[in-house]
Symmetry: C2
Subunit: 398 residues, 2 copies
């Protein structure tokens, strides 16, 4: 019979999607340039030329039957070797091709990893705010999400996390650079967190997997670096996507890296492969896989995002909005002047500004602004933001 | 903790994969041309030129950010409309874009459909022999597989199926042209089957979904046609893949079609979308999606498969092997002369012939031969088949 949980998931659009659809409708009503849509985290910067060049070259030079043929379930061995070499070169790691499972994007990397290491009734810790699909993915494998609020700097609250971990804890999901806050978790924080995780592993006598969701790894600013988590903690599973770094989110290509130092590495890797198989992932798209070795280390021109970020922080601060300086991804997390996220976003809508209330991200009182838009849109929206800020001051004074 | 079921699924290669790996090793030992590998169902015929032409054109003409961008979760609306038009034109149906959910190949179409309409403890009927992953997919959503043996002509045994259906039956999976037998289920059989399903729906007071797994729809011979199941039964869900028709199995592109006449169509379609979301399918690969409108109705040159089929049937019959004449897909299902599938396949191995024992397909006493190979390999293998046949006669006489 129809699975009601699935029906609800399919019927209920996410708040983000609702806003985006509203934006489309509103643009049709009052004009494209009169609506300031900051709702979607959809890369806006051109795909690096290397991507299309590699795809075109493969199409014109390779035998189509093998080019478009099945790869092994884990992914093409040459592609996995190239990725392993890139990781070793870039992060000083020593992984090999057999630590890598090519996935249909980061979402699939997460569902395969969670299905591999979480059994029914077990708990998964998630620092909040967090990407709302985590809850969907955790619950699909019978797990229970345990949200632990970040500290005032939007960094994981290590003590609270340690207190939340129990004998039922199977994993923790970390997402840095973070969606929705743009925070990059500092090395100091990661060190403290992984020390706490080690203590808990000892205390409860079983591995607690650190699942690192990294679609924004390369999108960082102000010269910050994102710690590579396998170097801090053995039981690490990295879920990577090329969606954002290469501006190819629709192509669904990424990978799972199981740290070779994972306790019982072979079983974890096998369980990821088995999860992929049982969820219907036969292999990651072959043409895209085979283009990757020519694109590793390339990124879209992220200076555009940085320019947008600086402009927004400067001007919105001038108008009186408060925010934590984001150092990664393409999100700005703005405090609601009224303290109420929904009230803030509804009022923004009156000024044709579309931003996402933070409640769906597991925390109240903020709005997420996606600045993966044209710089021109940001410039154009400034009077609207100014008017929005003014509307709160009038209220205070009135 | 590591999910042991997933670990086992990842650790245990399928019998088919084991054979294929053995074949690779054996080829390295005694020479590529001395091993006759008929193990894998991997298309061997060139991808139609339209595929690469469409991909190249899109790469050179479209804005890369939108070309490689997210499509809606159900798939690009224009692509879905083109597919709906093609179905309507070809099969005289009247479906529309909103009946179609673009999937990451047929395996994903199946996992999304099963997750949508099967809840824990419910039963799914599968005529045997059947593609072994069905069991994996059904069990992943908590369902119970109920195998019902086909009749002597390898057609579904309608009376046995009706007897096997209970109040717990949520769905039946039909796969015609069939893997592993190559059988095409006749219109007569489909009519009887769907009448039985309607009786059972009435008897038990709830829908029983007919899930039609159709990766081989276009691969048919002797002028047979494959009935389009939505026309025979309202509660039909079609799982289609372009893997075999376009020789692009690695690209993972297909769709779910929920018949507009399904009872509670909207809920079923929403549940498919929700299932896709919860399993980590954000959208089907966008570049491939967008190439499809230029490739609908095109197929790889399947006359090669037909030539292989005819040659094999003629020669193997001459040698004394027995088989049901296959009219579709690229599989020949050969009776084991000893009645034991494993004995037959092991003995074939001694003659460097790699064929798959039928036990894993849910039936004993046969071997599956995949003839998606070069005609030249078939010619070359004939002395080995002759010797294999002779070895049984010697045994009889000796």
């Amino acid at each position: 019979m129809i699975n009601q949980k699935m029906r609800e998931l399919g019927a209920k659009r996410s708040v983000i999607r609702e806003l985006f659809e509203y934006g489309k409708k509103r643009k049709a009503e009052i004009g494209e340039d009169k609506v300031y849509d900051f709702s979607l985290g959809n890369p806006s910067v051109a795909t690096p030329e290397a991507v299309n060049a590699a795809l075109s070259d493969l199409l014109s030079s390779e035998n189509p039957v093998s080019l478009h043929g099945y790869t092994s379930a884990q992914g093409d061995p040459g592609v996995r070797a190239a990725i392993a070499d890139y990781i070793n070169f870039t992060y000083g790691e020593s992984v090999n091709a057999d630590c890598i499972y090519m996935s249909v994007g980061a979402a699939a990397a997460l569902t395969c990893s969670l299905t591999a290491v979480v059994s029914a009734g077990e708990e998964v810790i998630v620092p909040s705010p967090y990407f709302p699909e985590y809850k969907v993915f955790i619950e699909k494998c019978g797990g229970v999400i345990k949200e632990v609020a970040c500290d005032g700097e939007l960094q994981p609250d290590v003590m609270a996390i340690e207190n939340a971990i129990s004998e039922k804890t199977a994993a923790i999901i970390i997402n840095s650079p973070n969606n929705p806050t743009g925070a990059v978790y500092s090395e100091k924080n990661i060190k403290a967190l992984t020390e706490a995780l080690r203590r808990c592993e000892k205390r409860y006598g079983h591995p607690i997997y650190l699942i690192s969701d990294e679609p924004y790894r390369e999108l960082v600013y102000d010269g910050v670096t994102v710690p590579y988590l396998t170097k801090y903690y053995n039981d690490t599973i990295v879920c990577y996507s090329f969606s954002k770094s290469l501006s190819i989110p629709g192509e669904r290509i990424g990978y799972v890296l199981v740290s070779p130092r994972c306790e019982d590495f072979t079983s974890v890797y096998q369980a990821v492969c088995g999860a992929g198989r049982s969820l219907g992932y036969v292999c990651a798209p072959s043409l895209l896989q085979k283009a990757l070795p020519y694109c590793l280390g390339k990124t879209a021109d992220i200076s555009v995002y940085d320019r947008n970020r600086r402009m927004l922080m400067e001007r919105l601060s001038e108008f009186g909005f408060e925010m934590i300086r984001p150092q990664g991804a393409f999100y700005l997390f703005i405090k609601s002047p009224s303290g109420d996220a929904n009230e803030f976003c509804e009022r923004a809508k009156n000024h044709e500004i579309l931003i996402v209330p933070s409640d769906d991200f597991g925390i109240g009182g903020y709005a997420r602004l996606s600045y993966c838009v044209t710089t021109e849109q940001i410039e154009r929206s400034m009077p609207a933001f100014e008017a929005l800020a003014k509307s709160y001051k009038e209220k205070e004074n009135g």
